[in-house]
Symmetry: D2
Subunit: 423 residues, 4 copies
């Protein structure tokens, strides 16, 4: 075997272990009980995330290789299939929280079983480039689920009247001064957007292609809790003129009066975080808002949401810096007042930023053949693109071409607001 | 303190420990995960049952005594209040399965905390008769929840596609021969029904009073799986003429085609039990049927369901014998063919028997003052009375005056069918 | 043909015409539009009532006779079948309001077609006693639908923000003084209840049989709007201790704060009637309450609802007097203060009186064979019995044995409250 | 007054009358009953359309002029407000079908009242350009509701088991031969799209702006019933691989097996039309499909849906020809085989063509100030653009820049499929 391939597979094995261990570290603060329920249909039990990410490697890497591979448990093929129709049936999604067996210990054993088999395969160095590409997708997939574990656990614990913390040791500083919002130019004309390699990107990030932009402006930082409070106190949730019609319907149907996880206690505004309840920090970017709230805020502020291409064109040249795990924060970093910045701040790793762009295929996009073709393509309707990555996003996922997507009423992700306006 | 009171409280302490330990024994085969979810709105997590039964003693015995009593956790007052409006708010029932903290270990600690305090109180011998009466209600209440733990766990595990068993060591014999159904006379005229003491009875079992019955007949044993299969194979679930109108609506709305927990596998009729899946046993009493199915079966068979008073008048003189725990069965005992019986068999401890009687107050019934008055009285509408007790009912609850009650569409209890007919 | 039979059929023809014309008179104030919608699933379009009552004669009298009978429109067999499974399929009930064709004119033509055929049959005098009995059921059925037309139209017009009146000429007097509530004895012991002939009764009114009553008291008149207002102003709808558990759930789910059709306008309590909105009349019996509200009121007032047998035993010897049509009121008559009454007042023809009795078969009840056996029997679960008849009930239906029945949450019928209490 | 203005207002008066009369003509075949119900929440009663379009002129033209204007009925301000929050409250949309008063006759009187007042205003010639612009919007609005009357009536009558026709005199020819599908080039590069005046356009059609297209191909004609049947017979509705994920969910949730209004009778495929049931015509364009079905068909056919800009760039130079009213068809014209066409056929006036473009504001779009700003802008999320106009679209609405929009699961509009593919 040529040495560079040996190296590629050895590197992959190393990354495999690192990423799988990172998942384990995320789950360490949780009890078996914490890993069991499904707090709403959109979320999944932590136990399910742990198993499903293993199922991914078993189904798409190990099983196709045949040989002496034996599935850990043949029932898991259905039980932990998320949505791949080409793989066969799926367990009824809204009942994921009722599956108490396998328990957490057995799921961890499943992970070890898959890890051992994966390492044998990777160390044998016989995967070839196509096989390595599937492993790479599996690792990116695992990292996406790391973020989902955090958002789903946050949602679950927030339903608990005791307001428990996911971890007690998370940083809670709240800096007072906030940089004044300024505007950075989005130059008009033809630009290229989308992935051009050589690193990993999901299929929905390509093909790279030309887009035609009009000159515009992008806000220098994210909208803060303090600013959003201004919208609330100005009757933002009671005045239909700020809202898209579907958004106004949701406001009334669900009784929204503030972002998710905000609550009042003894007349004080508080916020439920992964570290437990805290006083609302004015300088911190607002998060856990739906696209409807983001859009209404922007309209109220005399601005609009950026398109995904405006965002990418501005973000592409800028350095990326995230917050995940390393800084043990899991909430966006306050916007410090300081030197004038050369470009917008907080583009990567604070909150996902709602754009006004519908999640749609790029020109020339073709979903891959087979089950992995279901990864992204079949979701390209009814959802909006978010860009930039949040404080719960693994650093490796922070890149200017990354396209996250959710329904506009979703609030349980770490989603925030950056303003744009026409020139 | 007079000796007989000392004795009464010592006896009570002994019974307290025995009954609380029996609950613990029921939970022993379950993992923390098993104790967490709520498989439907009617059911509760096992963890919740464990905590709520402790809350009962804390709220109705310990707290009113004051002194140095400290609640284990003040939040539990709301969290584990089932439905006592007089005690204050209750946690939103359909979300009981989302409460992962307290976890099972903490709930067990809560039980120990309450047990220690209760034993101190009981050993101090200062409760007095009213206090002892409340403890007695608490113990009866605990035993009711023992049965609910079993029915709720059965329901939860049955939603698991792996068909896991609650216990692997449960008896599975299925006897072939079945006693031919014969009819026992219910004499007409004025009878007395209802509790007359001196033992414990719930308030809904009294006042004892006269009822006027017409002569009738009561079936000598419960309807079997084999007989119910005859109804199914005769198109029972497809022919509206057998059904009450509301029952026919449920059949179609829920797609009922057999009792709950029956399923087909490779062309064989099987049944999910607490011991895992088994072949259907023809001689075993049918169970997990709704009142609608019981009524439709009876109509099809040219009979009717008994009234609760017909049942009681026949059952009152007969000896009671139950199956709970002792015989490690948790499914009804087959009807052996043997000597002609002097009275109907299987009246106690096989399946709850649906009656045609609406659950209503007996003449002169008055709910107690205070929160405990909510125990039974406020449910006296829309439900039907079941009599006799099931294989999951603690033996101490098997008595001829006991009135169980559920909505007619409920199927997750161990509920079966005894026929009656007019003379 | 013997003369007495000729006479029987001639009488029947006369009654047939009178009753059918009474239905037509009820519909005269309505437009084709008024006769089209279905304001909720429990109600039906007026047009549907007009057609269904004709379908009844066509299906159960004309069609079985064969001969040269031709159905007016073969599609009507399904379209206007209410719930008779033995007759075949039924049109989907919640969509009755979408059937714009046949229109009102065609439905009236259908009625004329059926009437002509019926009169030919009746005048031919060849029906025989069984045939005449079915015609009699059809006429009683028509009269039941006369009341439903009024309650359904009232419900429909009340959803109209313009608060239109069904008729503008309805009597609106409101007498101020109210007779003080006194109590009449219900003697204990064995009584006979149920129909004993010779006049018409529905099958659910028999068999006549013995019942055993305890001595009790029955209120001398209906509960008034003014008294019910006292319950409201004492927080009746906000205090769970007055309510059955299922009732309390409905109060909160539906936001009940007053009887149906009560509303506030410019700080004044008003009530929507068939004559349009009026000021609330304190001396008038409260109506359009559910059984839950009736029960909660009774509990609040230190009383209870009567059983159906208590009611019947007291009412049977008393003269009946109704209000229907003749006096053009369609709301209950105020309780005048006057001479002490020999028995309770307002037993017949003011409001239906909720009893605490579950609607169940009398001992020995057998539903008739064939489709007409579905008339009453299959509804004998989940409903409560109401007695006495309302201001919208045809006088011919006012009799002491008549058993009306509705679900306990129903409020759109003219249902009110009479108190009872134990001796 | 300058003569050209006099002429402008006179022309407007003439157009006003013509368009209002066209609405009246559409309603002529309907009974008062037909005009009353609302067959689903998305649809409205015909009576409501007739009133709402009059309300529009009353609210936006007559009322702001003040003077001696008196509203026909002040309650109508709320009752017939569709969704203009700036005008105030709206009647609860899902209950529009319960409003039987005003009846059809009163609504027609309302129309006459508004018409008379409008003609006085128009003839006075004092509106000025802004006022005339609002009248123009009102007329365009009226024409949009003309199409909705047809689609809503079609939906209502299709729920009637009698399958009635809206009109009995509608053309039913079905031509057999079908032009073979060929492909027309969409040239790549920068194009201009959007309205540039001088005629009327809705605000959502502008601003005119540059778009950058890749070279592509557009199908020469619409997809036919015969072709769509091929998709069905190939298991199209049973194979998830053709479907967007949200689409597949709808297929299963709603049991879709064919386009709306297709049904089977005696083994023959039939279709409900405004002229009643007909045999399915293979050469006729498929219509009443959702965007999900359009997308799934395209994927199955190895193609895709066009973007709205691809469609417009091709359609802009082509002549428009519609089918509305004049030819009394109300179903799309079959694709005749004939001379090779210079451009795609059937672009205007056969079926609305689903595009893959999310309905979003054009760059620089600003909703107007005031209530009329709610006309289009607040709906710009979650919907897809349709282009071209249908057989039920007034000819005046057929233009290359017109942007219709519906949720992707909508099927009751006359919506069909044109394919596109990448070069």
């Amino acid at each position: 075997m040529p040495e560079h391939i040996q190296t590629a597979e050895a590197d992959l094995a190393h990354r495999y272990l690192t990423i799988r261990e990172a998942t384990g570290a995320l789950v360490a603060p949780l009890s078996p009980e914490d890993c069991t329920p499904q707090s709403m249909s959109d979320a999944s039990p932590v136990k399910w995330h742990l198993a499903h990410t293993s199922w991914f490697f078993e189904t798409f890497v190990l099983e196709p290789r045949g040989g002496d591979f034996r599935p850990f448990n043949p029932r898991f093929r259905v039980l932990f299939n998320s949505y791949y129709n080409a793989v066969g049936d799926q367990f009824f999604r809204p009942e994921r929280g009722l599956v108490t067996r396998p328990g957490l210990a057995e799921v961890m054993a499943y992970r070890e079983h898959v890890d051992a088999a994966m390492l044998r395969v990777l160390e044998a160095g016989a995967l070839g480039a196509p096989g390595r590409a599937v492993v790479e997708v599996g690792l990116q997939h695992e990292q996406q689920h790391q973020e989902l574990i955090l958002s789903d656990v946050k949602h679950l614990l927030a339903r608990n009247p005791g307001h428990p913390a996911y971890r007690d040791d998370l940083e809670v500083a709240c800096e007072a001064p906030i940089e004044r919002l300024s505007w950075h130019s989005v130059p008009g004309g033809i630009h290229q957007v989308g992935d051009a390699g050589p690193g990993f990107a999901f299929d929905n990030e390509g093909p790279r292609h030309d887009v035609l932009l009009r000159e515009a402006k992008l806000g220098s930082r994210l909208v803060t809790n303090g600013e959003f409070l201004g919208f609330i106190e100005d009757g933002g949730y009671r005045r239909p003129e700020h809202w898209l019609s579907d958004g106004w319907a949701k406001v009334n149907e669900r009784g929204w009066r503030a972002p998710l996880y905000w609550f009042d206690e003894d007349g004080e505004r508080r916020i439920q975080t992964l570290g437990g309840p805290r006083a609302l920090c004015s300088s911190e970017p607002v998060t856990h808002v739906s696209a409807y709230e983001a859009d209404a805020y922007a309209r109220w502020a005399g601005a609009r949401l950026p398109t995904e291409h405006e965002w990418e064109v501005v973000a592409a040249p800028l350095p990326m810096k995230g917050n995940f795990v390393e800084n043990a924060r899991f909430h966006p970093a306050p916007a410090s007042m300081g030197e004038p910045a050369d470009g917008p701040r907080q583009l990567f790793g604070d909150t996902w930023e709602w754009t006004s762009s519908a999640y749609a295929p790029y020109p020339g996009y073709q979903a891959a053949a087979g089950a992995l073709g279901e990864y992204n393509g079949k979701f390209m309707v009814n959802q909006l693109v978010l860009r930039g990555g949040s404080c719960a996003t693994p650093n490796a996922h922070l890149r200017p071409t990354y396209r996250n997507f959710f329904y506009p009423d979703a609030r349980w992700q770490f989603s925030g607001i950056r303003l744009a306006r026409d020139e």
